[in-house]
Structure formats: structure tokens, C-alpha cells
């Protein structure tokens, strides 16, 4: 995650957040497999 802070003319700030692909680790499953309820998979 990248964070870029910018000042407005009236003194307020704006922060721009940008993200790389697959940032934060791979998700716990493929994007299309929702819903993933452990009970449906026989887990508790």
C-alpha cells in the first residue's frame, strides 16, 4: 500500500492510497468461490 499526502489550498489534507496487485498476501481462495462457509466443507 502506498500513501501520498497532499495539502489543499484551505489547509485540509488529502491522502491518496494505491495498491499493488496481490498485495496483502494471496486471498484464502479464488475470487469466484464465494460463499465459503466452513460448515459447507464439513469443517467446524
Amino acid at each position: 500500500m502506498k500513501k501520498e499526502r497532499q495539502a489543499k489550498e484551505d489547509g485540509r489534507y488529502t491522502i491518496f492510497y494505491t495498491f499493488e496487485e496481490d498485495e496483502g498476501g494471496e486471498g484464502p481462495g479464488s475470487p469466484g468461490d464465494i460463499p465459503r462457509d466452513p460448515e459447507e466443507r464439513g469443517e467446524d
Binding site: 500500500m1 500513501k3 485540509r12 492510497y17 496483502g24 465459503r36
Partner: protein, 327 residues
């Protein structure tokens, strides 16, 4: 003018921000101040042609870092204090027509990073005791801008509702030696009738004592005090459970459901909240049917007693069916 006045009858602060009367009210989409600034177009709050997630200080804040008091205001009985705090707006996407429910999983994951970052940064300020992350969605809730966005209020005190919840959790922990919220999740899992959906680390359920017909609480199963304490795996699980819940909300009546979404987590006043604060998100949709709203009328507003027309078990079944239908 930002000031807070003490109500000695209810023992709580009321915030006054009179400049908010003039805030932008439901502008047409082509004049949305939260959209990117297009070449040759009018300047919006975001001076770029596109963006991913943006946070900025609210132009019409309920609290400001430099709030000051005028002399002569307040008494011993009804003291006043500066409305010192921070109010931020969080733009989820530059797509004006999107909603949190329609965002892709990667973007929601990014949003969780931003929420955690804001919790840490705002909470580290000396005058901030509580970082309150929330979203008001839909005109039924009173939103003044339709662009998908949430807000953050960094309060100079712990607000009454989280405070009451923390006091109950503290008392429970003192008597039983366990986390109140962990025991609530255990009870909901054992019963099962009010559980909407769950993942590896998060569970969404309508509480046994819901105050709105489709009120849902989304709990971290681990006793994590704040969003900042969630592991990468937990954050991914939150993305998926949140997405499923929001999809079931939108499928419920066949339109994008209005709601208030609020996060409860550890205060940032320097206190010890281990085993007491338990990160969770609460949703309060105002609809009781597709056409009818649940109003906070005499009993709810004047007496504090919510009167419900439907049992949580029945509402939960409806939402579960919507998730099953979407498989």
C-alpha cells in the same frame, strides 16, 4: 463553530457544528464533489483524473483539531468543551455508481488496510480517545452525497454506545474472566439459527437482541481488540464474509439496501482493553419491508426501548436463503 455541551441528565456530550447547515445536499451526479476532477470540469475534492482509495478531511466537520472555546460559555452544571477531533471522508472508489457491495475483493481488502491505517494514525493523536469508522448508505439514512464513501470521526471522548458496551464487557470479564463477545459468538454458533454466514475467522449473525429487523453483527472470532490487530488471513476472511453479507442485503428486497455500518473496537485513550474490546462491525438497515422503514419513534427515542415486529431468527433465515440463492 465546533463545541461539545455536557448533558448532565444523560451524562453525555452533544456536538454542535453550526456550519454543517450549509453542506452540499444531494447534488446531481455531474456535480458530485467526491468524483475525480475531469479535465476542463469543475474542481472536486479530489484533484486527480482517477483514484483508488482517497481519504480527506471533511469540509464540514463535526469536530476539528483546532477547535477553541469562546469565553463565557457553559456553567458548572452544563460545561462546554472545544469540539476537538478529526472528521475524515473515505472514498471507496472513483466509480460514482458503485457501492461497497459491488466492489471487487481486492478493493475491499485495500479498504481494510486504509481503515486500519486511519485507526492507527488518528488514534495516536493525543486528543483522540476513540476512532469511529462508519458508513451511512442510502437516502433513507439521510446521506447528502451518493458517491460510495464512508466516514471516520476521531472523538475527544469515548462515545456513549461503545462506552456502555465496553463497561458491560469489562464487568463481564471481571466476574467471569472471559470476553463477553467471545461468549456471544459461542452461543450464536451453538444455536445456529441467527447465523447468516461465516468464514474461517469471522461470523455474521443477527444478535438475539437485535434492535432492527435486519441488524447484523460481524464479529472477529479471535478476540482482536481493533482492526489493526487483524492478521492478513483474518483481513481476507473479513473481505469474503463482508461481501457475502452485503450481497444478501442487496438481494433481500431487490434493491441496494440502505444501512448504517459502524465499527466497534478498542478506544485509543491509553487504557488497557485486552479481553474487553473485541473488534466487530454492526449494520443497522432501516427497512422492515421493501416499502416500510423502522422509525425510531416515541418508545425508541424517548424511552430507549426498541419494539420489534419480527424475530431475529426469522430475519436471519431470509438473509441465509438469499446467500444460498446466489450460489
Amino acid at each position: 463553530m465546533n463545541q461539545i455541551r455536557w448533558d448532565p441528565t444523560l451524562r453525555e456530550w452533544v456536538a454542535y457544528a453550526t456550519h454543517r447547515q450549509d453542506r452540499t445536499f444531494l447534488p446531481p451526479a455531474e456535480y458530485c464533489p467526491l468524483c475525480p476532477t475531469k479535465p476542463g470540469g469543475f474542481p472536486t475534492e479530489v484533484p486527480r483524473e482517477s483514484y483508488e482509495i482517497v481519504v480527506f478531511e471533511n469540509r464540514f466537520p463535526s469536530f476539528t483539531p483546532d477547535a477553541a472555546l469562546q469565553d463565557g460559555e457553559g456553567t458548572l452544571l452544563t460545561p462546554v468543551a472545544p469540539g476537538r477531533g478529526v472528521c475524515e471522508v473515505v472514498l471507496y472508489t472513483d466509480d460514482h455508481d458503485a457501492t461497497l457491495a459491488s466492489l471487487g475483493e481486492e478493493r475491499i481488502r485495500g479498504l481494510i488496510e486504509v481503515w486500519a491505517d486511519r485507526y492507527g494514525e488518528l488514534g495516536s493523536r493525543e486528543f483522540v480517545d476513540y476512532v469511529f469508522i462508519f458508513e451511512n448508505k442510502g437516502e433513507a439514512i439521510g446521506v447528502t452525497l451518493n458517491h460510495p464513501h464512508g466516514q471516520i470521526y476521531a472523538y475527544p471522548f469515548i462515545p456513549p454506545r461503545p462506552k456502555k458496551e465496553l463497561e458491560a464487557a469489562h464487568e463481564y470479564h471481571r466476574k467471569r474472566g472471559r470476553c463477553l463477545h467471545c461468549d456471544i459468538i459461542s452461543q450464536e454458533h451453538e444455536d445456529g439459527r441467527r447465523v447468516i454466514t461465516k468464514g474461517e475467522h469471522f461470523t455474521a449473525f443477527i444478535p438475539f437482541y437485535a434492535h432492527f429487523p435486519y441488524e447484523v453483527h460481524l464479529y472477529s472470532r479471535r478476540c482482536a481488540p481493533s482492526i489493526q490487530d487483524l492478521s492478513p488471513e483474518e483481513r481476507w476472511d473479513l473481505v469474503r464474509v463482508l461481501k457475502r453479507l452485503l450481497m444478501s442485503y442487496d438481494a433481500l428486497f431487490g434493491f441496494s439496501l440502505p444501512y448504517m455500518m459502524v465499527m466497534h473496537q478498542a478506544p485509543t485513550d491509553g487504557g488497557d482493553y485486552e479481553g474487553v474490546a473485541h473488534f466487530h462491525i454492526e449494520f443497522y438497515p432501516p427497512n422492515r419491508t421493501a416499502e416500510k422503514l423502522k422509525y425510531l419513534a416515541g418508545s425508541e427515542t424517548g424511552a430507549g426501548v426498541y419494539v420489534m415486529d419480527v424475530l431475529p431468527e426469522a430475519s436471519a433465515e431470509e438473509l441465509r436463503e438469499k446467500i444460498e440463492d446466489s450460489i
